[in-house]
């Protein structure tokens, strides 16, 4: 919604290139003395932002004339000649519309090119962000995929934030930086540092330099802390510039010493923790359809920006979602209970939940294992009861389950894999 977004919806007609207006008018028209495209464009623009436009727009309830491409496409094509009355004829209006279509259409990409990009790690080095849970990584063929939005769902305290921290570390290990949007103020930087140290010490090639690697992780994470939904949207809008800046810096430093802890890495991971908090904060948890629609619209706005970021900058976007606390997952339908709100008597929460569910390409559900016999309550310092992670939605894999525990190193898989093919 900020003016800086270059989404096609907000693109102004005045920014259309001149070639749209060249030779628009057919035949000799002596009364239209400037057939010069620039002045033609100006005349069209002034017509569009004038009364007739407001009249047409009044039928739709909008105001203020027609200035964006979205508005002009919303007018029925038979109404457009009426608005542009002496300027263009009916046929020319259609031609203008078809030129606008051509101008704003997307460019095709062949699937072989997409597949090639997915497999190659030549651009920036990270095609997937490993989660650190071998079964999950195997099923996902490497980890959370780049270029799409993934979701982590779970109840409070099950380990979602830990997993995101783990993802940040593994992204840095693979050569990519991260951006952490901490809407819940729950990120603990000392813990992040600890996880970084532990993991690089355990798995890095040179354990003595683990400190440097951990330092590099921290150097390449930026933290944003929005509270309200509008702030979150602002942050998302500005992320594009930040990513471009960091990537260009990283390219400049690409030749320097590899071991330099302060080396800049291109951004490969964006974590939103969580999406539920700002929405829940700002929108009423009422059961009226107004409230539900309001919330749904916020969710969609966020989702669209995230998808765009993921695609344009080739990032993996991981979104953390909550589950209502007074809520028993074993009774409800497994698919439908991943909702955002506390009181889910079933009226509206499923609708919003379903809407959001369409937006994520990959979903991992974390939960405590319900079986009471397995719960071992506390003497272990890491507070580790057995937990279960399930991959419920993915393009490349079937539904997969694995068990893990929270350790000092973060999440660690406990039992061998139940079912999954080799990567």
């Amino acid at each position: 919604m900020a003016a800086g977004t270059n989404s096609g919806n907000d693109r102004l007609i005045s920014h259309l290139p001149l070639r749209v207006f060249v030779k628009l008018i057919s035949g000799p028209r002596s009364t239209v003395s400037p057939i010069d495209p620039a002045s033609l464009r100006d005349r069209i623009l002034s017509k569009l932002s004038s009364e007739a436009a407001a009249a047409a727009a009044a039928a739709d309830g909008g105001g203020g004339g027609i200035s964006t491409i979205r508005d002009i496409l919303n007018i029925p094509p038979t109404a457009l000649p009426r608005i542009l009355d002496p300027c263009l004829t009916y046929a020319e209006c259609n031609r203008l519309l078809s030129r606008i279509h051509r101008e704003c259409a997307a460019e095709p990409l062949s699937a072989s090119e997409v597949a090639r990009r997915a497999r190659s790690s030549s651009t920036g080095g990270v095609g997937k962000v490993p989660t650190g849970l071998p079964t999950l990584d195997g099923c996902l063929r490497g980890g959370i995929p780049v270029g799409s939005v993934a979701e982590l769902v779970g109840r409070a305290g099950v380990g979602k934030t830990h997993l995101t921290q783990q993802l940040v570390v593994s992204a840095a290990t693979a050569g990519g930086g991260a951006i952490y949007v901490d809407a819940e103020r729950r990120l603990s930087l000392p813990r992040l540092r600890e996880i970084a140290l532990e993991r690089t010490r355990a798995s890095g090639p040179d354990p003595s330099r683990a400190g440097d690697s951990a330092q590099r992780v921290l150097e390449n994470v930026t933290i944003h802390r929005p509270l309200a939904t509008s702030e979150l949207l602002d942050v998302l809008d500005r992320l594009g510039e930040e990513i471009i800046l960091r990537n260009s810096e990283a390219r400049k430093e690409a030749e320097t010493d590899d071991r330099d802890p302060a080396r800049r890495l291109p951004v490969r991971l964006v974590v939103i923790d969580s999406i539920a908090a700002p929405v829940r904060r700002d929108f009423e948890i009422g059961s009226s359809s107004y409230a539900a629609a309001h919330r749904a619209s916020a969710i969609f706005q966020i989702a669209r920006r995230l998808k765009r970021l993921a695609h344009d900058h080739r990032l993996a976007v991981v979104v953390v979602n909550q589950v209502g606390s007074g809520h028993d997952s074993s009774k409800r339908d497994y698919q439908r209970n991943r909702t955002l709100d506390i009181d889910d008597d079933g009226e509206f929460t499923a609708s919003l939940g379903t809407a959001w569910q369409y937006c994520a390409t990959t979903r991992v559900v974390l939960e405590h294992e319900d079986d009471p016999h397995r719960l071992q309550g506390g003497p272990r310092g890491d507070g580790g009861s057995i937990r279960v992670a399930t991959l419920t939605k993915s393009l490349v894999s079937k539904r997969t389950r694995l068990t893990f525990a929270l350790t000092q190193q973060g999440l660690r898989e406990v039992s061998p894999a139940r079912d999954c093919p080799d990567p």
Partner: protein, 512 residues
């Protein structure tokens, strides 16, 4: 607008390249002219003035004129083209006799109206006097009426032989399909085009150079999904020239099915496929990410393997059947060598659209792209829109910048209008280009309150509304197989789902 001008829409995509011209052979336009005269070359017909002054006249209000033009004409008492014509040609017949030859010479050349301005203005003086405006303004009006007439396929009222851009727009369709920026107008004669000439020109341009399976392609009217249950549900597969919808909960496999279809569309004709390209409008990003790329690759791989093994099997059977006759040529015919995973994926074109505007513009611009593909010899056979609902739901639920409720309601209203137009456009696209259009849809919750006001009051219905539902030919709803009553729903639910996928003849399972 006119009953006379209903444009024939055929299933075999004849007239999409130029603006469709109706068949006018039945209309006897020029009484005095005999058939013999009509067939003579244009330059040697001095008596065509009578042709122009024909009795065929239509009311002005039914033409696509600008409101200001219409007002000016009607206020001066002109209500039909007959009036305009008689006014234009009044008192000029003598001059026309002398200018007859010159007029026709111009008809053959490329010369436009501007050089003829002197003689054309002379025609319109009386017209201008009647209207009370300048003669150039009157000329403009007359040209506009000509444009409107020609665009619906009726003869013009003036002798102007060319109108720039005449072949470029189609006023009765939403999209312009011709090449806009060519600059040179086709040379046009007075007589309307006959059906025979239209057929000849369009069949020449659309003669596709692609494969020897061309004849068989025409007979294959379905794209198989390799899952026999789904194919039998749909009556053979996803039908060409029709709009099909796939709807289901998130994660149920809609994108997978669509990927499968795109890969299957590349199946060679002698294996029962349509051997065509695929066009994908990726609105949600599932096809353009790393996961999508991986999946497409593994599916293409699996399909090529499948074709290879079945070719092998056929060859073996053939060899056994005819012992001594080693049919070398039979083997070559069976397995097309161009079929590699890269080639399969090369034929899938993905358009990533990020918002509603982009999606609308890309879709309206598709005819040109599809035409290019066809001219290159690789016609597209399936168009997948994944998903149709996402951007429309984003748009219709967009919050107001200023006015709150009203703007949101108007947003949803305008998106509904857009959707209705889009549905009509897609239907016509499917039949014009003979492709299968497959659109994905979401499920939304409709709340039905019952007395207890508890669960059980929710119903999942497909999004996008009723008018969309009427536009599609088939709707395929995919759901998880769930048991509500079981004690551990998780296990049973996903196990059944996996069973269905495993049992189902998804070709991609072999690659897992």
């Amino acid at each position: 607008m006119f009953p006379l001008c209903s444009l024939p829409v055929s299933n075999v995509a004849h007239e999409r390249a130029e603006s469709p011209k109706p068949l006018l052979q039945d209309i006897d336009l020029a009484g005095p002219i005999s058939n013999e005269q009509r067939s003579l070359p244009v330059a040697s017909q001095p008596a065509s003035i009578t042709y122009r002054q024909n009795t065929f006249s239509i009311p002005l209000v039914s033409l696509a004129l600008r409101p200001s033009t219409l007002t000016a004409l009607i206020r001066s008492g002109y209500s039909s083209t007959g009036d305009v014509m008689s006014s234009c040609w009044k008192g000029t017949s003598a001059e026309e006799e002398n200018n007859g030859e010159v007029g026709y010479t111009r008809c053959e050349k490329d010369g436009g109206g501007i050089e003829n301005s002197s003689s054309n203005n002379a025609n319109y003086e009386h017209f201008a006097q009647d209207l009370g405006c300048s003669s150039s303004q009157a000329a403009d009006y007359a040209h506009e009426i000509d444009d409107a007439l020609v665009s619906v396929g009726l003869p013009m009222i003036s002798a102007r032989t060319e109108i720039k851009g005449i072949g470029e727009t189609d006023s009765t369709n939403e999209h312009g399909t011709g090449s806009d920026d060519s600059g040179t107008a086709p040379n046009r004669c007075i007589f309307p085009a006959t059906a025979a000439s239209i057929l000849l020109s369009t069949s020449n341009s659309r003669c596709s150079i692609g494969g020897n399976g061309h004849n068989q392609t025409a007979n294959t009217r379905h794209i198989v999904s390799f899952s026999q249950s789904i194919d039998s549900l749909l009556g053979g597969g996803f039908a060409l020239s029709e709009l099909t919808e796939i709807v289901g909960l998130p994660g149920v496999g809609k994108t997978q099915l669509a990927m499968q279809l795109c890969v299957d569309a590349r199946l060679p004709a002698n294996y029962g496929g349509v051997e065509g390209c695929s066009v994908v409008i990726d609105a949600e990003g599932s096809w353009s990410g790393a996961a999508g790329g991986d999946r497409l690759w593994s599916m293409a791989d699996a399909m090529v393997e499948h074709v290879k093994t079945s070719a092998e099997r056929k060859r073996m059977l053939k060899k056994e059947a005819m012992h001594a006759n080693t049919s070398e040529d039979g083997m070559n015919l069976q397995f097309p060598s161009w079929l590699t995973p890269e080639a399969v994926l090369d034929g899938i074109h993905i358009f990533r659209v990020h918002d509603e505007t982009s999606q609308t513009c890309t879709l309206y611009n598709l005819p040109k792209f599809l035409l290019d593909l066809e001219l290159k010899g690789t016609p597209a056979k399936i168009l997948v829109i994944d998903s149709m609902a996402f951007h429309y739901r984003v748009a219709s639920s967009a919050p107001a910048a200023s006015t709150g409720n009203d703007k949101r309601k108007s947003n949803s209203l305008s998106t509904t209008h857009n959707l209705t137009r889009m549905a009509a456009f897609l239907t016509e696209l499917a039949s014009q280009f003979d492709i299968a259009v497959v659109a994905m849809n979401h499920l939304t919750t409709r709340i039905e309150k019952d007395d207890t006001n508890n669960q059980g009051g929710m119903k999942m219905v497909p999004a996008l509304g009723e008018s969309w539902a009427h536009s599609i030919s088939s709707r395929l709803m995919i759901d998880h197989h769930r048991h509500f009553e079981s004690t551990s729903p998780t296990t049973i639910a996903h196990m059944d789902y996996e069973l269905i996928l495993a049992k189902g003849e998804y070709i991609n399972l072999s690659a897992r």
